[in-house]
């Protein structure tokens, strides 16, 4: 029966090519626009560390004085940690692994002839950074906690930077002149850049950034290297020193494998805050201390720009307009076939049969519209990739979104066909047949 209905639907659609074309075009455009924006939203809210994100947590403390008033438009000072707090959390070793980090941009003077000095963005971090995030190495490795303590001038380069500086040769063991200091290369990472760069400070362009070097945080602090990202100070007359207890600028991540560990760490943060409050350093309630999971933290930061949200609403509104359009056209089309339907009814077809037949016709339009929509969505994503936005280059469709596009098209057109099919299968056969 299905193939018969399919054949009927094909014939019926062919009889009105212009109208069919309009309906396919409408659903294709609506689906294309919606799927373009849904795909953008999907890649922007995707898990940056699949398989590892469930174990990664970031602790946040509230060291602000009671009378501190945050400006409405300013960044949140409690989004980052101060140097003393980060060092205390690090020394406590309550997590399976933990690392403190901050971004920085340093001047690099290449020794290779023909290369002018240039600025390069990277990360100052503590030893566990690489194991914590599972950074893959091409050669060599990270540094030890002992190197952190000894302010060792060592650096890990990304493969892109290593290739730029040393060509195809082995970079490990070479020296890099970074921030007016010499660093010994001890490792080269394989291509690695989580999207978004979730561990970076929230002020950056997190979808297009990547770290090109990694060096010990202790060195960055002792050499007073420039720190990129937000630095919020609240001390009165206090200098803007990186080790100040009244300036937050560090990001901190910890690995916690079991729910028990998570609960224990949460308790530890409250206890730590209470202890700091007892010492007179913290003034606010210790329960202000928070522990976010990776995905929870991304949701809290809300990295999706308002424009992307608005574009999604616009696209969905557009899809709705297209669907209304199709409902109206299908209704006109089906009702005009009252004669044909009445003959089928008179020959014994049940209402349900008519309903299924017309439903299949709507679904067929949906399939054609879905294929067209897929092409339009690819075109839309291509045009987004040409745009200057931070997230533009990520706009690629994966298999679930591809299947989702077809499914959405069929669902939308079947939904659009419901009302017309229902109306059409309720025509009174006798009345119709009499007028024929």
């Amino acid at each position: 029966m299905f193939t018969y209905y399919l054949d009927l639907a094909r014939r019926s659609l062919r009889r009105t090519p212009v109208l069919t074309g309009l309906m396919v075009l409408a659903i294709g455009l609506g689906i294309g626009a919606s799927m373009t924006m849904l795909t953008v939203l999907h890649v922007m809210t995707d898990d940056p560390m699949p398989g590892r994100s469930a174990q990664l947590y970031t602790p946040h403390l509230d060291p602000l004085p009671l009378d501190h008033k945050r400006r409405g438009d300013g960044p949140d000072p409690t989004a980052d940690l101060t140097w003393p707090d980060a060092m205390a959390l690090l020394a406590a070793r309550r997590g399976v692994r933990q690392a403190a980090m901050a971004g920085g941009s340093l001047l690099l003077r290449p020794e290779r002839a023909g290369l002018r000095p240039f600025y390069v963005a990277g990360r100052y971090a503590t030893a566990d950074f690489f194991a914590l995030f599972g950074v893959p190495f091409e050669r060599g490795g990270g540094w030890s906690a002992a190197a952190d303590a000894a302010d060792a001038q060592v650096v890990v380069l990304s493969d892109a930077l290593a290739r730029k500086l040393f060509g195809a040769g082995n970079a490990v063991g070479q020296t890099v002149h970074l921030g007016e200091h010499d660093f010994r290369v001890i490792g080269v990472t394989a291509d690695w850049a989580p999207k978004p760069l979730f561990y970076a400070d929230q002020t950056g362009t997190q979808y297009s950034d990547a770290d090109l070097f990694f060096l010990p945080l202790s060195v960055a602090v002792s050499q007073k290297f420039q720190v990129s990202g937000n630095q919020s100070g609240w001390g009165k007359g206090d200098s803007m020193s990186l080790t100040s207890a009244n300036m937050s600028w560090l990001q901190f991540w910890v690995q916690l494998d079991t729910p028990a560990q998570v609960a224990a760490y949460r308790q530890y943060l409250v206890d730590y805050s209470a202890q700091q409050k007892a010492l007179g350093r913290f003034q606010r309630p210790p329960t202000n201390a928070k522990l976010y999971g990776l995905m929870g933290w991304l949701a809290h930061e809300n990295l999706v720009p308002n424009d992307v949200d608005l574009q999604l609403w616009l696209a969905l509104g557009f899809l709705f307009v297209c669907m209304l359009n199709i409902v109206a056209l299908l209704l006109a089309k089906f009702l005009r076939r009252g004669g044909e339907i009445s003959v089928r009814r008179a020959l014994g077809a049940r209402r349900r049969d008519i309903f299924v037949q017309l439903g299949i016709e709507s679904a067929l339009i949906g399939v054609a519209g879905g294929v067209l929509g897929l092409a339009i969505a690819q075109l839309g994503l291509w045009s987004i990739r040409q745009r200057p936005d931070d997230y533009a280059r990520l706009a690629q469709m994966d298999v679930p979104m591809l299947l989702g596009t077809l499914a959405l098209a069929v669902v939308a057109s079947v939904l659009a066909g419901l009302l017309p099919s229902w109306r059409a299968c309720r025509v009174a056969p006798a009345l119709q047949l009499k007028t024929m």
Binding site: F318, V321, L324, P388
Partner: protein, 409 residues
């Protein structure tokens, strides 16, 4: 034109009528808001900026030793002024729309603190000698900085300049001292104070919020000596005839590379920097335009499709009307009036929907209230669209010969 028969006929096709009205309403609502958002972006892209945008180019220089800035900057400037075509050159800390913002909050009384809600956040610009002329700042009142102002200014350990004179924009003057002359007035922060010696025409900040905000122009300028600049005079601005900008910029970059072998230079023409700043806004505006056009097309096709079917369905009735004396124009008018009524119902519903959507967007996104005239303008646009869309099917209807009446359907 009698509208009662039209209404009677529409009430026979209640569901398609409601659907087409809903489609027009939704199109109208989305169109209003999208056009409003396009307008907002266009006015942001066009925000005036009282510097000589079209004669300006810039070379940034970093990586040089801060300690020798006192001799390096004058030497670099002398070399830049020697480039043929350069009309003025100066060193500056940042430029409008460069994203490189140095903000600080100030109040009008000496006892303010940084956390005070009554303070106003300014963007600070530090000018080396000659930079005011190179930028083409326009003085409205008072004076520019003199040689003594420049010589007396430096950076100490505080993140604020050690000087007591300042130039403010007209918008700052209006905000801090409404209705008074700002000249000679002083603004304060916890440890520093600055006295206004001149008021200049509105210059945009390095980062702006949205169009229509006076805060976009809260730019304050301070003098800065080369020796005391502590690495904060890193951008060299050059003014030249618009046709010379490319050549001047390349020559300047080359000159600075030669003079500062350890330095890193980065050059740009100011109008390109401005375009860059608004690039994503521009692409969003184009994308909104595209959606509007496609949506209008879909709606028009919907009207064409539905009216065509009604015409087909009513061929016999049309034939009968023609046979009993209706002229072609009567038939044409019938369908046009019908569409006028449908569009009318659609836009009335659509305008209230548009208003509702705007209220929702205002609450959840940084969007301002839509001016009322967007509503009637999009209503008229949809009315016209409807009439154009219906014209084809209506003409076909008008061409139905009266003889059809005698045939069976």
């Amino acid at each position: 034109m009698e509208i009662r028969p039209i209404l009677a006929s529409l009430s026979k096709h209640r569901i398609p009528t409601v659907l087409i009205v809903l489609e027009i309403a939704l199109t109208c609502a989305v169109l209003c808001n999208a056009v409003f958002m396009i307008g907002q972006r266009v006015s942001a892209i066009r925000l005036p900026n009282a510097i000589d945008e079209h004669s300006l180019s810039m070379v940034g220089l970093s990586g040089t030793d801060e300690k020798t800035a006192g001799s390096d900057i004058p030497r670099n400037l002398a070399a830049l002024r020697g480039i043929p075509g350069v009309q003025a050159a100066g060193a500056i800390s940042t430029l409008p729309l460069s994203h490189n913002n140095w903000g600080w909050s100030f109040g009008t009384s000496p006892d303010v603190s940084v956390f005070d809600k009554k303070t106003v956040n300014f963007s600070l610009f530090f000018l080396g000698e000659g930079a005011d002329k190179a930028l083409g700042l326009r003085l409205l009142e008072g004076r520019f900085f003199n040689a003594d102002d420049y010589a007396d200014s430096s950076f100490g350990s505080a993140p604020l300049p050690e000087t007591h004179v300042t130039l403010v924009t007209h918008s700052i003057a209006e905000r801090m001292w409404p209705g008074q002359s700002a000249l000679g007035k002083t603004y304060y922060t916890t440890s520093h104070y600055y006295t206004v010696v001149g008021v200049i025409a509105d210059v945009l900040r390095p980062n702006i919020d949205g169009p229509g905000e006076a805060a976009n122009y809260y730019s304050a300028f301070f003098p800065m000596s080369a020796e005391g600049s502590k690495g904060n005079l890193r951008r060299y601005v050059l003014s030249s005839a618009p046709g010379d900008r490319d050549r001047v910029m390349r020559a300047a970059e080359q000159k600075l590379d030669e003079l500062n072998p350890n330095g890193v230079t980065k050059s740009a023409i100011y109008s390109d920097m401005r375009d860059q700043y608004f690039a994503d806004m521009r692409s969003m505006a184009w994308m909104l335009v595209l959606v509007c056009v496609v949506m209008l097309a879909v709606t028009a096709f919907g009207i064409v499709g539905l009216t065509s079917f009604w015409v087909g369905q009513r061929r016999q009735q049309i034939g009968i009307r023609r046979a009993v004396g209706a002229s072609r124009s009567h038939i044409l008018q019938y369908f046009q009036t019908e569409n006028f009524l449908l569009s009318g119902a659609g836009v009335v519903l659509g305008m209230s929907l548009a208003y509702g959507i705007n209220l929702y967007l205002m609450r959840h996104y940084e969007i301002t209230r839509m001016p009322w005239y967007y509503l009637p303008v999009s209503a008229i646009a949809l009315w016209v669209l409807g009439q154009l869309a219906v014209l084809g099917p209506a003409l076909r209807a008008a061409n139905v010969p009266p003889v059809v009446a005698t045939r069976s359907a």
